[in-house]
Symmetry: C2
């Protein structure tokens, strides 16, 4: 019998940056991934629609009998985590709380402010500030910044060295370029690909925390706690399912994952859409 996989879903290709971290920390785990490339992005959509789409993505992956489900998409984690947990029969781990926890640790050490970067919907939800205040009522100052152009810039294949990327980074992050120390929380799966350029722009006073990497550490911890870690003899695989355009997913995904997935399969609408029978808010 094959080992039970970890299920990961995302609005599109970005969640592969979380898969990359899972691979780094849990190389023996098999991963099934659903990328909703037919309806991407989620970051400009309403909570209700993000909730409905997220549950449909996760439900699709239940057929693989996963050990747990990772909501790799920050927007989905920010807007739909409670509903996902209510709708699914397995544990669901989002990226918001792991990211918030690590940012808080870093901020406390350096007495820094916490800048949260995310999509329009993630920032509007205030999910990160709420998580930070839940974890520590004496939270340092929080500076939320919506960075909607970071996703299309990365998807277009631009790197941090590109003139447009630099102009956009400067436009969003100018308020952080002060002498005060900052923890900069990358609250979107695409942003790690701009991390070097952000670090360079902000200088050494900025500490960058990637929610995706923190989430991989939490997954590893949870598997240990529940004695569900894959056997070291297991050769972890990555099976990808997408709701649209496998060639574009492969081309753009390569930069996020930095390895080849074992398969990329197109899923017909009938197989995932309409799976949500839950009332979303």
């Amino acid at each position: 019998m094959p080992a039970r996989p970890i299920a990961v879903f995302d609005s599109g290709v970005g969640g592969l940056s979380v898969v990359r971290q899972l691979r780094k920390h849990l190389p023996h785990e098999s991963i099934v991934y659903f990328g909703d490339s037919a309806r991407v992005p989620y970051g400009t959509k309403s909570p209700r629609t993000v909730c409905r789409f997220s549950i449909e993505c996760a439900r699709y992956l239940l057929r693989f009998d996963p050990k747990l489900v990772v909501a790799a998409c920050n927007t989905a984690s920010a807007l739909a985590l409670d509903e996902l947990r209510a709708a699914l029969p397995v544990e669901v781990i989002g990226v918001v709380e792991p990211g918030a926890r690590a940012a808080l640790q870093a901020a406390t050490m350096s007495n820094a402010r916490i800048a949260v970067l995310g999509t329009e919907a993630t920032i509007a939800s205030e999910a990160y500030p709420k998580a930070l205040r839940r974890l520590a009522p004496q939270t340092p100052e929080i500076v939320p910044i919506a960075c909607p152009l970071f996703v299309p810039i990365v998807e277009e294949g631009r790197t941090g060295a590109d003139a447009v990327s630099r102009a956009v980074i400067a436009d969003y992050l100018a308020p952080l370029r002060t002498s005060d120390p900052h923890v900069v929380l990358l609250g979107c799966t695409h942003y790690p690909l701009l991390a070097d350029a952000i670090r360079e722009y902000l200088g050494p006073k900025a500490t960058i925390v990637d929610s995706g990497e923190q989430t991989a550490l939490v997954v590893a911890e949870r598997l240990g706690q529940t004695h569900a870690t894959a056997d070291r003899a297991n050769r972890g695989t990555i099976q990808v399912f997408v709701s649209d355009n496998p060639p574009r997913f492969r081309a753009i995904g390569a930069r996020f994952l930095q390895e080849e997935p074992h398969s990329v399969t197109l899923v017909a609408a009938e197989e995932y859409a309409g799976l949500d029978r839950v009332d979303c808010p």
Copy 2:
């Protein structure tokens, strides 16, 4: 009995720039509009998915017994026009051929090259070059340029005066900044909002053609030919239907339409999704 409306659909809010032109040229017509804001954008998606979504949008609007259907979305017009025409019982007018025709006229007068600006999918489809060559085998040189960042820049509320907009315009359009005359075909509904900045960057040798405006003229002509023009006593209305997020649609749409629609109504997924029973390629 109310006059039969013109149906207009788009992947989201951008088609309102076409509605604005329809209002200018046909103020007595009533318009029903479907914006697929739950699945926007189409410009990064596969032909098959664009085709399926487009037919679903148009089918939704058939309940209003429209005189004709306008595919305001350039990506939908480029990738799905034949399938829309096969699937719908009324005339369908796309934006590609009207834009191509006007660009060709302008280019012939000034002996200019034609630059086609559009989304990733519109440019990859080569719909504009094909239309240009169909209209005139001796077409001038065609320079296709995909400009994926123009849409999110406009949706973020940036104007042409903004530093990021200027950096992006310069990045995409530098090859056109020569002493040769150019016709610049705006092959996406969002681009008219950057027209002034594009004109300023390229200088007086550039002639800008907006596919949306040309389409409104074609619609007016067709209504005249078929004796279907609304009575001058008719007070044209704009009824908008969206698949997600009416508040965001209203907020961003105001810049495209420059008037208030008479209503903006959220449509549940069950009412439009799954309406496509046609085999898309």
